[in-house]
């Protein structure tokens, strides 16, 4: 009974082109996409670590692979995914603790997540890859 009345009162908007995902929503789906991508790339990352630690020859080999422009771009994307997942994750931990749950604060914190994660990606990318 109560379920029915709640359902009836819900507003419906199925005109999809008029719906724009707000920034916290984009952050959220990127959190999932980045997590899935990092999971899929785990064997590549473990292989990189293994080769870089095994011997000085394989270390030089890894430097060669990482020096390739295409690999650099992939790694830069990977660093961004990691940093986005990291920063967005900290935001979620704060939301769990009831901090910044108001609309304005949540929007502001999602902007901060994008700014900080992109800045960290550029700094780390510049230090490690170039």
């Amino acid at each position: 009974m109560t379920e029915m009345t709640i359902k009836k009162r819900r507003p419906k908007n199925l005109d999809l082109p008029t719906i724009r995902l707000p920034l916290p929503g984009i952050l959220s789906i990127l959190h999932r996409v980045s997590g899935a991508a990092l999971f899929l790339l785990l064997p590549f990352l473990l292989w990189l670590l293994q080769s870089s630690l095994a011997s000085s020859e394989s270390f030089a080999g890894v430097r060669g692979v990482v020096g390739h422009p295409l690999v650099k771009i992939i790694l830069l994307g990977l660093i961004w995914f990691y940093m986005h997942h990291f920063c967005a994750g900290i935001r979620y931990l704060l939301l769990d603790m009831d901090k910044g749950v108001d609309l304005e604060a949540a929007r502001l914190s999602s902007k901060i997540v994008f700014a900080v994660s992109i800045a960290l990606t550029l700094i780390i990318g510049a230090k490690v890859l170039w």
């Binding site: 999971f39 473990l46 990291f86």
Partner: protein, 115 residues
Amino acid sequence: MVNRLLVGAHYGLKDWIIQRATAIIMALYTVIFLVVVGAVGPASFEAWRGIFANGFMKFASFLFFVSVFYHAWIGVRDIWMDYIKPAGLRLAMMILTVAVLVGYTGWAVQILWRM
């Protein structure tokens, strides 16, 4: 309140907490790792290897990997539960996910302790 059937004694609280606990471990390790790499500046093989030869970093790195794998299990499981509806396929994907993650754990041990 939402009317729903509750089946079994597992409501996901344990996974919810582990997801967050592993997140905190990974976040701390990320900061430590970046500081160590920034301080050592591992341009050479010896310097890079030296980071992981250190007993504390070996322990912390292993803890990090175990956290990554458990955290990945919960996240990937959530993705399968959201998007894969046929129960058989979903179960197969979950088993495959656990299998690769257990394998990665062994691989990580080998990488860290073989040196």
